[in-house]
Each structure stands twice: as C-alpha cells, then as structure tokens.
C-alpha cells in the first residue's frame, strides 16, 4: 500500500541552526484522500510542507510521487512532479492582477505576430479557476486591492489550476469565514472524488472531522502517529497534539452589571469607504466581540479606535473623557493596545529578537529616553514567553525564525506588555494551534478579570462566544445588532449577520 501512495515521505529531517524542526517524519498521502496534518505551533507542519514542495531541501529523507523518487529543488520542479502548494501566509504578487497571479509562470503564450501572452486566455483560465473554488471576483483587479481572505482564495485557485496530483494547503481556512470554508471544502471533496491527494493543515478540529479521512499528528518535529479520522476521538487527537489534556473553559459569564460609565464607548464612527456608523462600547473587565462577514468593517473599526486610520466622524470616550487618537502613538498614550490582523505586514519586526519585539510597544509608549533596561526587558520577555508558552530557543532569537503561531503570541505579548486599559484584538487566534488558542483565551479571561476592557474581532464564532459576554454584529460597515447574555451563541450571531443581508451583495457566493 505504501508503495502505491501518491505522495510518500520517509524519514524527513530538517534542522535550522539549533532547532530540529523535523526529525524523521514519515507520511503517506493516498489517491482520493484528504489527509489532515495537525500539531501545535512550531510542530514542524509548515517545514514538512516546504520540504515536499521544494522550498527547503530536507537534510535527510526521501520523497516519492506515485512510487517515483522525487526530490524537487524548487517550487517549479515540485509543480512538475504534480505537487502544488498553498503556503501558510498568502504568497502572491500584490501589484499583479488576480488573473496574472493565477497564471504566473505558466501563462498561455502565442508566437505570432509577436511572441507574447494571450491575455484573453489568461483571464478565461483565471475565471474558471476562481469559479472552481466557488468564488466570484473580477480577475482583472489588482491583487492588493483584495482582502486577505480573497487573496487566500486566489492562492487556492492558483494551486488548483496547474493540474496537480497532490494539493497541499497550509492553513487555508485561517482567514475564511464559514461560508467560504464550506465552499472550499466542497471543492476539496470534488477533487478527492477525482482521485487527487490532498494534504491539509488546519487548527480547527471541527473542520478536520468534517473533511479529513486520515490525520497525521506532529509534535516537536517528530511524528506522533497517523490515524484514521473515524477512529480517533477529539480528546485523543488533542492529547496526541499537545501531550497533555486540555480543559475546556466554560463560556464567558455575562458581565455582572453594566456600569454607569463604560470604560470605552464609540458612537457613529465613520470613515469614507470603510466605516459607516459603528457604535460599540465596553466596560471595565468586559470582553466585547465584533462579529461580521468578511469586509464588514471589523478590522476597520479596531484600526479607527486605535488611530491607525483617521476617522471622518464619530466620538469616542475613554473613562468618560473624549479621545480621538490621531495616531497609534496617541492611542497607546491613553492606554489602548492593538493586535493587528496582518502579522507579516503590520506585526512583526522580522530581524529583531523576540525580546525586542515584546518590549517594543512598551518602549514606544514610555518614550525614547526612558529606555526599558535590559534587565526589565528580559524579565518581561521571560514572563510572557512562559505565560503564553512561546516556543523559542531563546528570547534573543530573531522573531522571523519562529513559527507563525509563536510569532502571533509574541505580538500578543507586545500588546499586553503595555498594560493597557483597553485591548483591541484583531483575529487573535488566527493561525494558532488549539493549545495556544486556549492559552490566548485564558489570557483574555485573566486580563478581563484584572479589569482590562477588551474588544476582539474574530471570524471564529465559537471562540467569540466563549470569550465574550457581549457581541456587536457588523454588517456592511455598520453595527446592526448587539447580542447579550444568553443570546450570545453562534446560531444567533449567524442569524443576526444574515438578517436582511441581500444575498447578491455578499461577494463570495457559494456554488454547487
């Protein structure tokens, strides 16, 4: 059976300096199978994928495709072997059109009258490719004008366009909403029916059980095991991943009493082209969730509160005093902290160390001349590395060497280090494993208990419900509903989001 496997990896090993990211991992992907690859942040999932797809060359081990030894040295070669890959962060070219991004490197060309690209064919192929993932977009648009979710879908469309036999998806669903995930899954099922092999990395247990046939779990670069999804209970899976039992925290109890004066309140926030009357308030020690569809204005709301984007109208008060931060700096000075959505672009300072990344915001708030001493910085770094279980060889490691999830935790640590009154979290658990997710949610709770007010935007309703006692629903850039108490549950939120949402206006329509 292993001989016949579509993609088979034996004894893959990869070392990055002191870190043994992969240590003799075996995995087989069969024809017509959806294979989930699971593991905590930094377990080595992305590394394994990169070794298979020709980004890294493994230090040891073999890869074969349908029994033929294959050792792709470049992503291009991997494609020729029939392995196509969507990487964890969106990796597309921002200033090319969607169509070009889908066809880049394999554009249909003509010879006459001059050699060149057949743009008509490119667009047609791109249209088909996005249609295949059940998604509608003007393929002539410049990619950077599309949201991250749309970009993610474009990346998936691209990977399916090249006629691969094995499709590898590294956390494709982290920025998709339910509807898009469902659309994607139906595509994957169709591919499975056509005999392709699919390797899928995701941190969502629900999704895994919904779609995967088999599950392989990695921990600390080592193979823990491969099991059939049907035979593996959730508890067992989690235990395999983390090597410890996870206690599920009960859902957030409702905030006891609405205080006279909320810690923070925003009224009628408006910003041309992005926000259109958003109201939202939060008390001391309360966590408020922002729910909504893709592009409904959640991130924009948080950015506006934080002063990252200017607002055209609206008022904000913090502890009763009017505030209107004109820049993140001013926001931080009054005690607001922010975790941005796009970690690569807006979050990490890649070549600086974990320690420096953690203290950065605190330092910026204290001002240039009140330097955070090395001692204090180390103490802080150690504290957060321990509290958030950031997996790093040392606080001095450059943060770009960490896995995505650990980078995210570093950024949360940066926000917390400023000891804020109001904490704004934009997709705090995006790309984080369950262990870490629990850690983050724990943190949200303990910060809340310490009296911090939290506003959190998330596409994961389950999580929103668990963390927040109150949820503000946004639609079309307005706040349209506020759910409280027992009304806070996923179905109610979905109903509130969907209510009166005119179907054709939702840009990503599910097909088939």
């Amino acid at each position: 059976m292993t001989d016949l496997a579509l993609l088979s990896v034996r004894g893959a090993r990869k070392r990055f300096g002191p870190v043994l990211a992969l240590d003799g991992v075996d995995i087989d992907i069969e024809r017509g199978e959806i294979h989930a690859l699971m593991g905590e942040n930094g377990a080595g999932k992305s590394t394994l994928i990169r070794c298979v797809s020709g980004v890294h060359s493994p230090d040891a081990g073999s890869v074969s495709v349908a029994g033929v030894p294959a050792r792709p040295r470049t992503p291009r070669e991997a494609e020729l072997f029939g392995i196509s890959c969507v990487h964890q962060e969106v990796h597309l070219i921002p200033h090319l059109s969607v169509a070009e991004n889908i066809c880049l490197g394999r554009e249909p060309t003509r010879r006459f009258p001059f050699p060149g690209i057949r743009w008509g064919a490119v667009r047609e192929r791109a249209r088909q490719a996005v249609e295949r993932v059940g998604f509608e977009i003007d393929v002539r648009r410049e990619l950077c004008t599309c949201s991250i979710a749309a970009q993610q879908l474009v990346a998936i469309a691209r990977s399916l366009d090249c006629g691969a036999r094995v499709v590898i998806l590294d956390e494709p669903t982290s920025s998709l909403n339910e509807r898009e995930v469902e659309a994607l899954f139906s595509v994957l099922r169709r591919l499975r029916a056509n005999g392709l092999g699919i390797l899928l990395v995701t941190h969502f247990l629900d999704q895994v059980y919904r779609i995967a046939d088999r599950i392989t779990v990695l921990r600390d670069g080592r193979l823990v095991g491969t099991r059939s999804a049907a035979d593996l209970s959730r508890a067992e899976l989690v235990a395999m991943m983390v090597g410890r039992a996870i206690h599920r925290e009960p859902r957030a109890e409702q905030h006891a009493s609405r205080a006279e004066q909320p810690r923070f309140a925003a009224r009628g926030l408006r910003r041309r082209g992005a926000l259109d009357a958003v109201d939202c308030s939060v008390d001391r020690g309360e966590a408020v969730g922002l729910a909504g569809l893709l592009g409904s204005g959640r991130s924009e709301t948080l950015r506006a509160i934080f002063g990252a984007d200017p607002i055209d109208a609206g008022t904000m008060t913090l502890d009763g005093h009017p505030v209107r931060p004109g820049s993140p700096r001013e926001a931080m000075r009054v005690g607001i902290a922010f975790l941005p959505e796009d970690r690569k672009r807006d979050g990490i300072i890649p070549s600086l160390s974990v320690r420096e990344n953690i203290i950065l915001a605190l330092q910026a708030r204290r001002g240039v001349f009140a330097r955070v001493s090395n001692r204090e910085a180390l103490l802080l770094a150690d504290r957060f590395i321990a509290a958030l279980r950031i997996r790093t060889p040392s606080p001095e490691t450059p943060v770009h060497r960490l896995s995505g999830g650990n980078q995210q935790k570093t950024l949360i640590a940066r926000a917390l280090a400023t000891d804020p009154l109001l904490l704004l979290l934009d997709e705090p658990t995006r790309g984080i494993d369950i262990g870490a997710k629990e850690d983050v949610l724990d943190l949200v709770r303990s910060e809340r208990e310490r009296g911090v007010a939290i506003i959190m935007a998330s596409s994961e309703l389950e999580e929103l419900v668990r963390a927040c006692g109150r949820v503000v629903v946004l639609r079309d850039r307005r706040s349209v509903a506020e759910l409280m108490g027992s009304a806070v549950d996923p179905t109610a939120i979905v109903r509130a989001i969907a209510e009166a949402a005119p179907e054709p206006d939702v840009e990503i329509a599910t097909r088939g």
Binding site: P75, A78, C85, L96, L104, G105, F114, I117
Partner: protein, 351 residues
C-alpha cells in the same frame, strides 16, 4: 536594496459591482501624472523663451538624450525587479573606449566592434547579476564595485579620449541612415541613435507587458519570496535583468560613441544617477514591482527639458545652475506625487 515602503495599498470595497464609469487603471496614474508634468513644463518654456517651441528644440531633446534613454531603460529592468545598477555610466565609458580602441588601434570594423562591446557589457552585467544572485550580496554594493571596476577598465583600455574616425561611423550618422522629417524650415534629421533608442523602448515595453519574462520581472520586484514560491525562476530572471541592463548600458555607450564620435574613459560620470532619477521620476518605484518603461521615457525627457530650460535661461552661474536643477527635480517629483495622490484619492472615492 534600498527599501522605501509606500503607504499601504488603497483599501477599496471588496464587493465588485459592474461600474458605469470605466475605472482608471491605477498603474497608469503615475505615468499620466508624469506626462502631464512634462507637457506643462514644455508649455512653460515655450511661453517664457523665444525659439523654445521649435522642432529644433524637440529634436535636440531626443538627440541629446538618446543614450541616456537607452541606459535608463536598462535601469528600468533592474529597478522593476527590485534591484539597482550603479555601474551604468562606467560601463558606458568602458564600452565607448572599447569600441574606439578596437576600431582605431586594432583595425576592427566598427560593426564588429559594436557587437563585441555589447557582448562585453552583457557579460559584465551577467557577472554582476550572478554575484548578487548566487551569494546574496546587496545589489547596491556589487554594482558600485562594478562601477569602479568598469571605470578602471576604461582607463586601462585607453587613458584619454580617443576619436573614432572610421568612415563607417560617419556613415552610420549621415543622412542615409537617419530619419528625415519634413518639419520646420530646414527639415528635421533624426539620427540613428534616436531610432535605436525608440526601438529599444518599444521592445522593452512589449517585453515587460506582454511576455512571461516581463511579468516575472514585475513579480520578483514586487515580492521575491512569493514569486519563488509561485515557481518563478527568480534567480534566472534576476540575473537576466542585470545582463540586459549591462547590454543596454553597452548599447548606450555605443550610442554615446556615435553621438560624439569618440571613446572617452572619463565620459558619463554620474550618469547612473541621472538614469535612476529618470526611472523614478517616471513613476517606477525603487522598491520594485511597479512602473514601466513609458514612464522612464518621460523621466528622461523631463531631465532633458530641465537642461534645455537652463540653457535657454542663459545667464545662470554655475551654482545657480546646480540649485535650479535640484529644485526642478524636486518640483517634478513632488508634482508627480501630488497628481498621483489626487488621482488615487479620486479612485478611492469613486469606488
């Protein structure tokens, strides 16, 4: 290399509805801005100086800037791909001396000498590109070293300037190979260097817009890592851009040799900065990925126009000449920035 980030991309509403008004393609905005500025500057000159609005001035603009144009096209390739080439001027000097030396001292036919020089320039570019690609050295540094090397080579080939007297060169320039345009009192003669520059620009435009290679150049300049993951042969494309730039610098050197019928090791000092300035004024981002050769053409013409305006002004002392050049460059860049910003605000609000 030297990184300059732009403000984050304009965020526009995602839901796509068919538009009644066709949207202005954002990629043409910078070029359009440059074109506007160019025309405005010319009109200004015409209003201010007598004899300015003449075919002669227009023709001079082309003739005097043809070689800079060719060199700037090479720089466009490299900059679009996210690199930089500081060796342009020195390679021009080297090739011009090489041609002169081969023709005058070795008795080689100019046509052969020109071919040899272009090959030499390409190999030089290829070597620079390989160093950059294989060993991950910064382009700024490698091409700066390249500039020193090429300049040294130019002097080693011949320490002084050397006239090229071969009849073929004169013939290349004489009427039979030039374009005659019946404009103005005496007609306008466009020499071959201008024709070659025009052809280079046209071919480059096609290559960058219409071929997979050209798109790959844009892609690696925009996000090299992503391009690698998307299977673009980044290394090959990057090395190619440097080879092309080397070749075009050499061609520019040849054009320069024809232009003044001499090879000169001291020629074109600092021309790389003019080339880069032309590219940038033309709306190509030094960061790479965005821009194009039409903008470069206009950038070159703007620089040329600045020179012309200064000559027509007629009585500037050396220092005022420098100050005026600086101020005009700033004015053009700022103006272009402004037009660009207004246009993209229009775009956003229209969305």
């Amino acid at each position: 290399m030297i990184r300059e980030r732009q403000s984050p991309p304009e965020r526009r509403s995602l839901p796509h509805r068919p538009r009644l008004v066709p949207r202005l393609d954002p990629s043409v905005v910078p070029s359009a801005a440059t074109a506007l500025v160019l025309v405005a500057a010319f009109l200004l000159g015409a209003a201010r100086y007598e004899n300015f609005a003449s075919w002669m001035v227009l023709r001079n603009l082309l003739v005097d800037n043809a070689y800079l144009g060719i060199a700037a096209v090479g720089a466009t390739f490299v900059i679009l791909a996210g690199g930089i080439d500081l060796s342009v001027g020195a390679v021009m000097a080297m090739t011009s001396v090489l041609v002169a030396r081969l023709v005058e001292h070795a008795g080689v036919h100019p046509a052969v000498a020109i071919a040899v020089a272009i090959l030499a320039g390409m190999s030089f570019g290829l070597a620079q590109g390989s160093l950059i690609q294989l060993f991950g050295l910064p382009a700024f540094l490698v091409t700066l070293a390249g500039m020193f090397l090429a300049r040294g080579a130019a002097f080693a080939l011949h320490p002084q300037s050397l006239g090229v007297r071969h009849p073929f060169v004169a013939q290349l320039l004489n009427d039979s190979l030039s374009l005659h345009i019946p404009l103005g009192p005496r007609g306008v003669v466009i020499p071959i260097t201008v024709v070659v520059a025009g052809a280079v620009i046209a071919i480059t435009w096609w290559t960058l817009r219409q071929t997979p290679f050209g798109r790959a150049v844009h892609a690696i300049g925009d996000d090299e890592h992503a391009a690698t993951l998307m299977g673009v042969p980044v290394g090959r494309v990057r090395v190619m851009t440097y080879a092309i730039a080397g070749g075009l610098s050499a061609l520019a050197g040849v054009a320069f040799t024809l232009y003044q019928q001499a090879g000169d090791p001291t020629a074109c000092k600092g021309l790389e900065l003019d080339a880069i300035a032309a590219v940038v004024i033309g709306g190509t981002l030094l960061r790479g990925g965005v821009g194009g050769v039409i903008g470069t053409l206009m950038g070159v013409l703007i620089l040329g126009l600045i020179q012309t305006i200064i000559t027509f002004e007629g009585d500037l002392s050396s220092w005022w000449t420098r100050i005026v050049v600086g101020v005009l460059v700033l004015a053009f860049v700022a103006l272009q920035r402004g037009v660009d910003a207004i246009a993209s605000r229009r775009l956003t609000s229209a969305a």
